[in-house]
Amino acid sequence: MNDMSLNLEAASSVKPHIRISRVSKTFKTRKGDVHALDDIDLNIKRGEFVSILGPSGCGKSTLMMLLAGLTPYSKGRIEVGEKLIQGPNPEGGIVFQQDVLLEWRTALQNIMMQAEIRKLPIEAAKARARELLEMVSLGDFENAYPKELSGGMRQRVSICRALLHRPPLLLMDEPFGALDAMTRDQLQLDLLRLCRDNEMTVMFITHSIAEAVFLSDRVVVMSPRPGRVERIIDIDLPRPRRLAMREEPQFTAYTRELTEIFKTLGVFREEV
């Protein structure tokens, strides 16, 4: 027993990047307590792409906020790297459903906000920002203001902003939820490319089954109210992922399995 724990500590590279142990979150409201998350246990390896999949109201966004340290949790422990999360964790990068671009700054200036606040060397950061814009095919738009950009372009800029400081952890809360289907496909591909070129762990919140399967190494299925981890499914599809894979039997087997889980959870009701 002792030997085992020693071994585990020695092999620190095996130690999960994110450790969520027995975490609960209760919101106090006038109508009483709302249990958003109940007894969440989840470990995420370094470099892993994990999707949190669930219907609205299952607390998946709350889970991301806890991980970012932007909302305090009620019970349990969350560790990212060596750090116990007790307040805002500026080591991560964060992308919301809304792009939250600052209207008064150009695309490049929006990304550079990250460097200004973190006091990164400006010239190196600018080069990195341009490189990121290039990677998402926005090289020609660095001087465009947000209102001059389409929804998909804006969200790409916001992803670049989240990645400027090479965060070891990227948190995304339904980042493509407000986009049309085709733009969404393109941004998924952009994101996968960025993940390949930047070593990082990704926690991706979504309510799209296909999106979760397409992007992830693992999909965490959450049950609604109070949010619990219902199942964790390994997605054993080759990388790089291609759009055509979505039609292949391997892929559809995963989406069918996930759909069945949500059926048993009562999220979907079908006529018999």
Partner: protein, 273 residues
Amino acid sequence: MAAITDVETEPRVRRPSPLRFLGRVSPAFWTLIILLILWELSVHITQVPIYILPPPTAIVKEMIAYWPRLMYNGGITLSEVLIGFLFSILVGVPLAILITYSRVAERAIYPIIVASQTIPKVAIAPLLMAWFGYGLTPKIVIVVLLSFFPIVINSVVGLKASSAEMLYLAQSMGASGWQTFWKFRLPQALPYIFAGLKLATVLSVIGAVVAEFIGADQGLGYVITVSGSSFNITRQFAAIIVISAIGMLFFAAIEALERFVVPWKANPIVASE
């Protein structure tokens, strides 16, 4: 696309009409000119006495003859307006920041500021004269009382306009309270603050003139009351025109400043993918 446009516009080129310059000026300008001509004509036709309604030409003549005094008194009124306006900003914006950041201040001060707006400021002007005398001070106080309200209200709304996500984003970057204010909240609030400033320009001119009505020995409001008591309606009109000009120029100046400070709101261009 370009080729098609060229072909289509080519035959449309017409010889410039001799009256073409008329179209370059705002239609409102021509409406105004027509109204002035009608005014002039009707005064001459109906033989209205000059102490009831002077014709525009008489007003112009009066303005030329009385120009140095109009400029002097206009300068007095303008200085009251500008000093009062500046004070309104110096009081209004910090108060808005306090209300935005302090829950206690919001609950203790904000309702009173809003409720105080039901007090007719013109009605308390005589009281201010009694307290502060007939000099510059009561005029500035009245200007501030009238113009600081829209500045406070709009600044509060603007400072609170930052979305929760934006503030979370600032936190996730590790921004300090000062950085969050300076780099996120204040720029977000600027268009709102300018809306308040523009309202305040109009109100501060009204405030200064009303204060001069009640007790003054110079300024355009004083010119109006004195001319009125001697039935010099023409001079009253001359003063009114100068007051309007001050109001319009002041408003235009703030608008120009807005275009300079808040350029991202000024030129709406929308591109798509």
